[in-house]
């Protein structure tokens, strides 16, 4: 019961690959957006905030369809990619990573923004007077101070990516080895008579992964807190 078939190992590997890439790849943009929301004020800020949080409230399938319209082979941007670089995201794990990244994005931005709002701008001013330019100040002062928020964002994003189904299957279909992540593999197994045992195994793997992620963030968060207090 506990040994994994190649199919399951592949789904697990793919899920980890897609989720890690999705989260790590969108982190810089996430930090930028969080910074804009936390520190700047401009007309249309509410709209910007709304757009970022859209994937959180839309049905994932809608998001997937939207990605198809924009990034599919016939899409606005997708057709350009195809034409210039002979590059297509359809049926690829990269496309799956993008779908996951879009869905998980609001979950990443939120904790980072909250963390940024908690940073005393006076500390950043102090750093400026001590010779640090804006970027250096951000890297040496702000970033370490928002580390807990970053971590939370990463883990939440990672967990959401792991469970991503609707947008992925709509955008890049179900290709074993390329886009058949854990949830999609599980779904496929439930569509076929006789797939229940394997489906259950995948289910347990998913739960184990989720617990591991939550445990990791808890330990890391505590370590950071402890370091600040010493």
């Amino acid at each position: 019961m506990l040994t994994l078939t190649p199919l399951e190992i592949e789904a697990l590997r793919l899920s980890l690959l897609v989720s890690c890439c999705a989260v790590v790849g969108s982190l810089p943009l996430g930090i930028v957006c969080a910074w804009i929301l936390a520190r700047l004020d401009f007309p249309g800020k509410g709209l910007f905030d709304g757009i970022i949080h859209l994937p959180l409230v839309l049905p994932p399938v809608v998001v997937g369809y939207f990605l198809l319209v924009v990034l599919g082979r016939r899409g606005v941007i997708g057709s350009l990619l195809l034409h210039w670089f002979d590059f297509s995201l359809a049926f690829t794990w990269k496309g799956a990573a993008i779908a996951s990244a879009v869905i998980a994005f609001p979950l990443m931005v939120r904790p980072v923004r909250l963390s940024l709002e908690g940073v005393d701008p006076g500390l950043e001013q102090a750093a400026r007077t001590l010779g640090c330019g804006p970027l250096r100040t951000f890297l040496t002062v702000t970033l370490p101070l928002i580390a807990p928020g970053l971590l939370t964002g990463l883990i939440l994003g990672f967990a959401r990516s792991l469970s991503e189904f609707g947008a992925t299957i709509t955008f890049v279909s179900n290709i074993p080895g390329e886009t058949r992540t854990l949830p999609i593999a599980l779904y496929s197994l439930t569509q076929v008579p006789g797939g229940d045992e394997a489906a259950l195994r995948l289910c347990l793997i998913s739960v184990a992964l989720a617990f591991a992620a939550l445990l990791a963030v808890d330990i890391l968060a505590r370590r950071i807190q402890a370091r600040m207090k010493a």
């Binding site: 005393d120 500390l123 102090a126 750093a127 400026r128 640090c132 330019g133 370091r227 207090k229 010493a230």
Partner: protein, 367 residues
């Protein structure tokens, strides 16, 4: 040498300030909301004036007309804020070295070990800011700004967040700093005791304007500025120097332009310069040389002016060998003495009524 000439609209008032700050400590004194913090924020580059020019040592930091606005990190200034603003994620040592690391070895003018020793924070180096007391944090903040090898040190009420015992702990360090590390200091304060202790030059600010600027004794002696200096009462500030100590009797003789004064024994060595504060109410007057009185400090003075104020008090300005001393007596007393300008008289300052807290050690090197 710092030259500032700026104009800016700040909320409800207009800031219009021109000042020069040379070596030593220049205090910016005034009530809350008079624009002091805004002014040094402009010098630091954290706030942009509408018009004007800021130059330090021939380097233009800001010039509205020429479109120059050097960002704070390039101005080579040190800034000690009201709150310590220590970086919580770094150790004390890393905090201290934060600005230090940004400066090339050739440009460093301050020695790490010297600063640590002067501030007495050697035992704190490996700790984190969270575990430090208020006074310790202030000292580290001062050290951090100093170690950035600044051309000028800006201090915005750095002791404001401390209680009086902490303040008493840290104030000597600031005074020492000015002496040891030849860096000009621009010190914002609304506490007169800090100004008396530290300032060579005093700049008075009110409602965004500079009311007066000049050597501290001079400014503080001007009666017309009393409302601004907020003494609460009229007084005199004198500079004197230690003549000798009388250990047997526990007194120190201080000499000034008008003669000698005796005060309770102080620690400063002979020849050291001190600043004296004499409350006008502590100066009694006599028209004849008093005999057999307990007061030891009796000076021959000449009456300069007599002014009746509210409250049946009379303010009398005295000249004592060139130094100005102020006295305040009741109208009743005046009606008996009938003092008039030009009269010779005697001022009695009881040795022990010149409160110890008002005798401050002034840094050597005064012009």
């Amino acid at each position: 040498m710092l030259t500032v000439c700026v104009r800016s609209r700040l909320g409800s008032f207009q800031l219009d300030a021109t000042l020069n700050a040379g070596s030593g400590v220049t205090a910016l004194f005034g009530p809350s909301g008079s624009g002091k913090t805004s002014l040094i924020n402009m010098v630091a580059g954290l706030c942009r004036p509408d018009e004007g020019r800021i130059v330090i040592d021939d380097r233009v930091l800001f010039d509205a007309k020429a479109g120059i606005d050097v960002p704070p990190e390039q101005r080579r200034l040190g800034y000690v804020f009201q709150e310590p603003r220590l970086f919580p994620h770094l150790s004390v040592r890393s905090n201290l070295k934060f600005g230090w690391n940004r400066v090339s070895v050739a440009e460093r003018t301050v020695d790490f070990a010297a600063v640590v020793e002067m501030l007495g924070i050697d035992h704190l180096l490996d700790r984190r800011p969270a575990g430090l007391s208020g006074g310790e944090k202030s000292r580290v903040a001062i050290g951090r700004a100093l170690l950035a090898s600044p051309r000028i040190l800006l201090m915005d009420e750095p002791l404001a967040s401390l209680d009086s015992s902490r303040k008493a702990e840290v104030l000597p360090f600031v005074a020492d700093l000015a002496k040891r590390f030849a860096i000009p200091i621009l010190y914002v304060s609304h506490a007169m005791d800090e100004v008396l202790r530290l300032a060579d030059t005093l700049v008075l600010m009110a409602e965004g304007q500079i009311a007066a600027a000049g050597p501290t004794e001079e400014i503080l002696s001007r009666g017309d500025l009393c409302p601004l200096t907020g003494h609460g009462e009229v007084g005199t500030v004198l500079s004197a120097s230690v003549d000798h100590h009388d250990d047997e009797n526990g007194v120190t003789a201080l000499s000034f332009s008008g003669g000698t004064l005796l005060v309770g024994r102080i620690d400063s060595p002979p020849g050291a310069a001190v600043r004296l504060r004499i409350h006008a109410r502590d100066v009694a007057l006599a028209t004849e040389p008093p005999r057999q009185v307990s007061i030891r400090n009796i000076l021959a003075v000449r009456i300069v002016s007599v002014t009746t104020t509210l409250d049946r008090q009379v303010e009398i300005k005295l000249d004592c060998g060139g130094a100005v001393i102020r006295s305040q007596i009741t109208a009743l007393a005046q009606s008996h003495l009938r003092l008039t300008p030009g009269m010779q008289a005697f001022a009695l300052l009881e040795a022990v009524t010149v409160a110890r807290g008002d005798i401050v050690d002034r840094p050597a090197g005064h012009r």
